[in-house]
């Protein structure tokens, strides 16, 4: 493999080395495993940022047999986001889950990271599915509730975990079935060959299965039940990783398939996707409305965010894709900030409900501020990062003449703002919070929250660089130039 190819494959190589070395270091104990995982994930993040400029104008094919491995601007952009989520989650785990004496936790996280990176690089159905399965199988372990680490929190029923396991298995079975149909019809696993040879009937049949599989993974209504079930009970770093990366791989996979294999069918699907997206956002808002538990509240709002991602399929224009891809970055920052703030509350006071955290800003200002910034950013308040991405999505609806959808989008956003402000208002209640006994959380957690707040502000104040990257990714996704290579 030539030097440039090696450089472009660097994130994949580093993720592989990290997974292998963390697994090997796990034998020596939790500290070596944790260190290997954190260093490796940060290295992977740096490599993904270094690789992005190399492929933003033209994609790179790294291998054709036995696996078709490639990277284009779209993949590179999402790779940056996923590795950022992994690094932030592992850092949060390092500073927050210091009582977890289980190296397998870190092994499962990095194995899942390798699965995610592999999915991004995969250009054939077999590799795609293998890495997808790796990501899912590894995720069960780190999503399992751990009662001794989050003291005072009810671990929740085992059924939540079982429901997650079952939903994921269903997702994998559906995707595998769809891929099987495509393989049977085209006689090939490479996506370019599948596109060239698969029959229309096979495309429709597999579309229903594959998109349903990713639908379940992305936790879109009505297949969303597993997400609010399991996410609140998992440790906070796992929740952050799940909400900002693992689940979003469903979006990546569906988008990749929709704009390559199922491209001829996309015009017929757009309206349906748009309606489904708006319904999903509404469901997320309504689910969040009745929540008192902060983790569950944030998880339900994440269900709604899945609908925002679906706007890319419902509008399928350059602006929509640009806005949604930029939104993926913002989701990473926002969700990590949400869950870090919640980790702060739990660490300092063993509380995580709106009612018990009344007046929390008096003694836990940093956590309250982090939650406030994340809430405002989620609801597209300038000058925060979330404003730009949602504004682009809004603009894409206006450009496409979907003014009713644009109005609905704004109204639902305001509804979500009202829901989140209920929690924020309670935290900043000046007349409550006296006598709230708190412990001082670690410096690492405070630094992480401060960095995430600063990142939300910086990206909000200087979004051009990220918007340009998202624009190139949108073009790459629409052109799919790697298939001609």
């Amino acid at each position: 493999m030539e030097a440039k190819g090696a450089l472009i494959a660097a994130p994949l190589l580093i993720a592989s080395i990290t997974a292998a070395s963390t697994a090997a270091a796990a034998k020596a104990g939790v500290k070596p495993a944790r260190l290997a995982a954190v260093i490796g994930s940060i290295a992977c993040l740096v490599a993904s940022f270094a690789v992005a400029p190399l492929v933003e104008d033209s994609p790179a094919i790294l291998s054709r047999t036995p696996a078709l491995l490639f990277l284009d601007a779209y993949g590179a952009l999402l790779l940056e986001k996923f590795t950022m989520a992994a690094a932030a989650s592992l850092l949060l785990a390092m500073v927050y889950l210091d009582r977890v004496d289980d190296p397998a936790y870190y092994v499962s996280m990095v194995a899942s990271l390798l699965g995610i990176v592999g999915v991004v690089y995969s250009g054939d159905l077999l590799s795609f599915f293998a890495f997808y399965a790796l990501m899912n199988l590894s995720s069960y372990y780190f999503m399992a509730p751990r009662p001794s680490e989050e003291v005072g929190v009810d671990t929740g029923p085992n059924d939540s975990l079982t429901l997650y396991l079952v939903s994921d298995v269903v997702s994998m079975v559906l995707v595998a079935s769809g891929f099987l149909i495509l393989y049977t019809s085209s006689g090939a696993t490479g996506i370019p060959e599948v596109v060239a040879r698969a029959s229309t009937e096979a495309l429709w049949a597999s579309l229903a299965l594959v998109i349903s599989g990713f639908w379940v993974k992305l936790a879109i209504f009505p297949a969303h039940a597993w997400f609010p079930g399991i996410n609140p009970w998992a440790p906070s770093p796992s929740s952050a990783f799940m909400a900002s990366a693992v689940r979003v791989v469903g979006f990546y996979g569906a988008t990749r398939m929709l704009f390559t294999v199922y491209r001829p069918l996309l015009p017929a699907l757009k309206s349906f996707m748009l309606y489904a997206a708006l319904v999903n956002i509404a469901v997320g808002c309504l689910l969040a409305l009745g929540q008192d538990d902060l983790k569950r509240l944030v998880t339900c709002s994440s269900v709604g965010e899945g609908g925002v991602l679906m706007m890319a399929w419902g509008v399928a224009s350059t602006t929509a894709l640009q806005g949604v891809f930029f939104h993926v970055l913002n989701l990473v920052l926002i969700k990590c900030l949400f869950f870090s703030s919640i980790a702060y509350f739990i660490s300092a006071s063993d509380r995580r409900t709106v009612y018990t955290l009344r007046g929390a800003s008096r003694s836990m200002l940093l956590g309250s501020t982090g939650f406030l910034i994340a809430s405002l950013s989620t609801c597209a308040m300038p000058p925060l990062n979330g404003f730009h991405s949602k504004f682009l999505v809004f603009l894409s609806l206006v450009e496409s003449g979907l003014l009713w959808a644009a109005c609905a989008f704004v109204v639902l956003d305001l509804l979500m703002l009202a829901v989140l402000m209920k929690a924020v208002h309670a935290m900043y209640d000046r007349y409550a919070g006296e006598g709230l006994k708190v412990r001082e959380p670690g410096l690492g957690l405070k630094l992480l929250i401060a960095v995430l707040i600063a990142s939300c502000l910086l990206v909000g104040l200087a979004p051009s660089m990220f918007m340009e990257g998202a624009y190139k990714a949108a073009l790459a996704c629409l052109n799919e130039a790697w298939m001609k290579g």
């Binding site: 190296p103 592999g118 890495f131 069960y140 300038p382 000058p383 603009l395 200087a462």
Partner: protein, 634 residues
């Protein structure tokens, strides 16, 4: 020149101070001053390439104005604020950040972000540290917030319209696209933007928020509001009107009328006020009227004159507010009748206040004279004689209320001082006084070939000559102003509290009209909300989440029924039922580790490098230890 480093410096200083809160109270002013000084110093470092910031003379001039005045205000405030010092200085830095970001942003979305960002710190600064009772402070700050947001709403629509008509948010690209004929969409966008900005620059009748906000805010913040914030609006208007001459011509009439009304109204109201800060606030309205009218000339000369006067006004108005605040603080009152003679007690501040006042009155050789003359000259050059006459009338009124201020400040009464001003207030006031006195070199520059430097890139080959008749007319106007003041003094000793005074103070009844409109709107909104809430609450707000949750639970129960049922005809259910989740998780982890090894081998085969072969070896080792695991808990 740099924009990024100053913004970063202010952002870091502001955020740090706001977050640390009470812990940094003693050092807050030093940290803020250091941050602003660094911002000013780093503005001379070149920016990295590719940032969406302006780097021309116009933005540089305004950025330097904002940074330097903010720094001086920060130093002035060293001993001014006692409560919540860290948050005060933090918000001050963030306020400066918003203003600076607005003037350097080339991208309209980024500009809007900074514009809105300005609002929150300024609102909090007015509301929390206001020099009036809490109830009034909240009302004043809320009025300021509402008016600014109304303008902001129009600006958002304008930005969207710009994008939809041209496909870009970049002002430089907009300028290149606007050469020649422009479409209706572009025109509409410009009109909406100017309309939105009219709220911020307090064009009559949208000015009602300004006198209250600028007078009730703490003195340092008043200096920033009147000296800097409103000029950000002027700067943006100059930018937008500079995009297309065609659009500027269309907006000529409303700007001329609005500007003229504003300058006359502001001067007349200032003449009647007794609160020194309200006098200065109304004088700001009047001076903004000059700038708006100048922009209504629809020429590069008019835009340049407005921009120069904005910079000049920023300097002397800040000086006036800082010194007036000091005098009022020392006397214990803002009433001119109580302040009578204080100039004699506090000689330095009295002298500096006088310099600022004379600059406001456009007395040569101070900076205000040259920039105001430039505006009137521009009006004459473009053939607007009636406007020039109105401006001279405004000058007469300005001279009248300036003379009134100086007479009161140096009046004959003696009252003992309530408080002596802190020493930290002197250097910033002196610096601003010196800046105002630098008007003479500015004036000389305008008459020499070096005038192109002062043109701020708005006009090529600036041609100016001394207009003796205009000079004579200006001097006559000043004398007329003095005569008016003399007559005012003779009639009522400069204190008129009749109906005209209260009418002018309340914006000719416009403030009252807005309040009534707001009350009607609130009453009908409340009625609508009660109906909506009452009728729809049970079905929508309470029922629908329950429905969504119950649907989710039904789906979950369906899952459970399918997979966890005890029915024997569902073998999968039976199998899953018998499996404890922790076993499934352990099984999954093992499977995952095995799959990990396979994936690594698959990658090695595909990428085919020696390094990957090493990975395969590691993977095989991993497979051999895959049977080992440690699972804790469920």
């Amino acid at each position: 020149m740099s924009s990024l480093y100053p913004l970063l410096s202010m952002c870091l200083a502001g955020t740090f101070l706001v977050v640390t809160g009470d812990r940094l109270d003693r050092w807050a002013s030093w940290v803020a001053s250091l941050g602003l000084a660094l911002a000013l110093a780093s503005s001379f470092i070149p920016d990295p390439v590719g940032l969406p910031f302006f780097n021309d003379a116009l933005s540089t001039a305004f950025l330097l104005l904002i940074l330097s005045v903010s720094l001086l205000v920060c130093v002035y405030s060293h001993r001014y604020v006692e409560l919540d010092r860290a948050r005060f200085f933090g918000l001050l830095c963030l306020f400066s950040l918003g203003m600076a970001g607005s003037v350097v942003s080339r991208n309209l979305v980024l500009f809007y972000v900074f514009w809105e960002f300005m609002l929150l710190p300024s609102y909090l600064l007015i509301e929390h540290w206001a020099e009036c009772p809490k109830g009034r402070a909240l009302a004043v700050a809320t009025k300021y917030f509402i008016f600014t947001h109304l303008g902001g709403a129009l600006m958002v629509v304008s930005i969207v319209t710009f994008y939809m008509s041209t496909g870009t948010f970049d002002l430089l690209e907009l300028a290149s696209l606007a050469v020649g004929e422009v479409g209706r969409g572009f025109e509409l966008a410009c009109v909406l933007m100017i309309a939105g900005l009219a709220f911020k620059v307090a064009v009559f009748p949208l000015h009602v928020w300004l006198p209250d906000a600028h007078s009730e805010a703490p003195t340092p913040i008043s200096a920033m509001l009147s000296g800097l914030m409103v000029h950000v609006g002027i700067y943006v208007m100059v930018r937008v009107l500079g995009l297309s001459h065609h659009v500027a011509e269309h907006l000529c009439t409303p700007l001329l009328i609005g500007g003229a009304l504003t300058l006359i109204y502001g001067s007349a109201a200032a003449l009647m006020e007794l609160d020194i800060k309200r006098v200065l606030a109304f004088s700001s309205i009047s001076q903004l009227g000059y700038m708006v009218a100048s922009m209504g000339l629809a020429s590069a000369l008019g835009l340049l004159a407005a921009a120069l006067h904005a910079i000049s006004h920023g300097l002397f108005k800040s000086l006036l507010f800082l010194t007036a605040g000091t005098l009022a603080h020392a006397a214990g009152s803002r009433d001119l009748r109580v302040l009578r003679g204080i100039g004699g007690e506090l000689k330095v501040f009295g002298a500096l206040f006088t310099i600022g006042a004379l600059s406001l009155a456009a007395i040569p050789p101070l900076n205000g004279f040259f920039t105001k003359e430039f505006i009137v000259e521009a009006a004459l050059e473009e053939g607007y004689l009636r406007l020039a006459i109105l401006m001279l009338l405004g000058s007469a009124l300005t001279m009248a209320y300036v003379a009134r201020l100086i007479c009161f400040v140096y009046g004959s009464s003696y009252r003992p001082l309530k408080e002596h001003p802190a020493r930290s207030m002197i250097p910033p006031s002196v610096a601003l006084g010196v800046a105002c006195a630098l008007g003479l070199p500015l004036g000389v520059m305008l008459l020499t070939p070096a005038r192109d430097l002062v043109a701020l890139g708005l006009k090529e080959h600036l041609e100016l000559h001394v207009n003796a008749s205009l000079l004579a007319a200006s001097m006559l106007a000043l004398l007329a102003g003095l005569a008016l003041w003399f007559a005012y003094w003779r009639i009522s000793y400069g204190v008129y509290l009749g109906r005209l005074s209260s009418l002018l103070s309340s914006g000719l009844g416009i403030d009252h009209a807005y309040s009534r409109l707001a009350k009607i709107f609130l009453r009908s909104s409340r009625a609508l909300l009660e109906t909506v809430e009452g009728k729809l609450r049970t079905s929508f707000l309470e029922g629908l989440p329950d429905s969504a949750m119950s649907m989710a639970k039904r789906v979950a129960r369906l899952h459970e029924k399918l997979f966890f049922s005890k029915a024997k005809f569902l073998p999968m259910a039976a199998r899953l039922r018998s499996m404890h989740p922790s076993r499934a998780v352990r099984w999954a982890l093992n499977a995952g580790l095995a799959l990990l090894a396979l994936c690594l081998a698959w990658l090695a085969a595909s990428l085919g490098s020696f390094r990957l072969a090493l990975l395969v070896v590691l993977a095989l080792a991993l497979a051999s230890i895959a049977s080992w695991r440690r699972v804790k808990g469920g």
